[in-house]
Each structure stands twice: as structure tokens, then as C-alpha cells.
Symmetry: none
């Protein structure tokens, strides 16, 4: 043990790389947080107008799921088809 990355032979270089990665990740995490906060704000706004957040969340969830379900359907079909030898 005692190596950073696989850039053996140039530790300083690896250190720099590592630092850079961590910075980029932390920056990306910040963006994630920002986006999440933004969405929360929308919910808060909706709530302030009298809507029930729980219900809205559920609707959003259901819509996403049906979308995914639709996308998954063909894949599923293929799986079953291959299972009975239709794709071989």
C-alpha cells in the first residue's frame, strides 16, 4: 500500500489529480443541493397556495413511474421472449 491512483512514479501529480476530483465533486454536490432546494421551494410555494404537498408528491411519483414502466415494458417483453426462445 501507499499509492494514490495508478500514476505510480509521480506522487505529486496524483495528489493534484485527487484534489481536482474532490473539488469537482464538491462543486457538483453543491449543484445537487441547489437543485434540490429549488424543488423544495416550489413545493413550499404550492403549499402556500393551499395545495397538499403530499398529494402533489404522489402525483409526481406516479407520473414518473408510469413513464418508467412504459420504458421498461419493451425490455421486459424481450426478456420473456428470449426466455421462450423467440429471440434466439
Amino acid at each position: 500500500m501507499s499509492e494514490i491512483g495508478h500514476n505510480s512514479g509521480d506522487e505529486g501529480f496524483s495528489q493534484k489529480k485527487l484534489k481536482k476530483y474532490i473539488e469537482r465533486i464538491e462543486d457538483g454536490e453543491e449543484k445537487k443541493r441547489y437543485a434540490a432546494t429549488h424543488v423544495s421551494g416550489i413545493y413550499a410555494e404550492a403549499k402556500s397556495e393551499g395545495f397538499d404537498c403530499k398529494v402533489i408528491r404522489r402525483v409526481v411519483k406516479d407520473r414518473k413511474m408510469s413513464e418508467e414502466d412504459r420504458r421498461e415494458q419493451s425490455e421486459l417483453l424481450d426478456l420473456y421472449k428470449s426466455a421462450i426462445g423467440m429471440l434466439d
Copy 2:
């Protein structure tokens, strides 16, 4: 579709509002997903250069965690461990 009789005449308006909120939320969720994907990509890149992602995640987490929290947590951990004889 149901108009529930005992009420005000602006239900259509509310529905429109609701729809708008849902759209904004879904848009925001999309952004969240995008940001998350981006971060994943960075980890993948780091991994491809030989870094240990698990450890990087830990470093990032530790950096986010405030000093006191970390100390407190680790003290509690030691306390529990010593209680069951893990530190002896």
C-alpha cells in the same frame, strides 16, 4: 369529470395552477437527476484513473461534516465500543 357542486367557480383555475406546479417540479427533478448523473460521472472518471471511490466519498463526507459533529460521533462510537470491550 367531477365538479363538486358546493364550491366556488374557480376550480379550473386551481387545476391549471396545480398543473403548472407539477410541471415546474418535474423540471426541477430533471435537473436534480442531471446533477446527480454528473457527479457519478466524475466518480467514474476518478475510478478509471485508479482512485478508490469509496475512500473519496468518505473524504468528501468528512469535509462536509463539521469538526464538532465528527468528534462527537467518534467519541460516542468509542464509548459504545469500550462498553462492549472492543477497545480493551
Copy 3:
């Protein structure tokens, strides 16, 4: 800080309790592992008879989901029913 559990005034007692909990948990985890291993064994057996594990997993998953969906349906209905009153 410096207390285990809320059994203030009797540290030794808390230590014993903690130890007991950890033992019970580890025992339970062992059982979980055992059960998981057992299931894996069944899949292996099925595979050795020429069945496609991926497909079986999918079938099992789908069956569980439809079951859960069914259970969830009534809850969902209630939520949406209440939601109809949301726009009043």
C-alpha cells in the same frame, strides 16, 4: 456527552444491555445471511436444471410488485379522494 442509553446512574447496566443488543443483532444478521444463502441455493439449483435465473428473478419481482401494487391501490384511492377536496 458520556452516557450510554438513558439508564443514567447505572453505567454497568447499560453496558450489559448494549452488549446484549449487539449480540441479538449479530445473531439476527446471521439468520438473514443464512436465509439469503438459502435462496441463492435455490436459484443455483434452478440454473443447474437449465432455467434462466434472470427471468425467474424477474418473475418473482413482478409478482411481488403486483401484490404490493394491489395493496397500495386502496391507499392511493383514499389519497386522491381527499385530493378532490384539495381544490375547494
Copy 4:
């Protein structure tokens, strides 16, 4: 029509077998769920007595992890941290 399994010549037989496998798997999954629920219950109990479940989980995890693994992991963590100046 195609075939399930390699029990050529007797598809009904294969289907029966498959069904049996699925039943056994579902039964096993049920046992897994039961065991998991049991462990959750123990954590809940511990929590109700004032213990910090998060810490207990960590203790259990550490106990499962072998000494060398833990050492190695922590060394790597320090290495990465020092590389980005977190230990200076």
C-alpha cells in the same frame, strides 16, 4: 413453441418445476423479510431505551470487518486526506 429448461420433450413438466422453484424462492424471500424485520425490531427496541442506532450499526459493521481491512481502509483514508492537505 419453444422450451423452458432443458427437459426437452416434456414442457408441462418443466413448467411445473419452474412453478415449484418460484414458490420455494418466494417462500425463502418471505423468510428473509421476516429475519430483516426481526433485526429492525431489535434496533427499535434499543432506540426506545435511548441507544443511538446509527452508532450501534457502525459498531456491528466494524466488528464484522476484519482488523486488517479496517486498518488498510483507514490508512488509505489518511493517505488521501494528507494528499489534499486535510491532515496538515
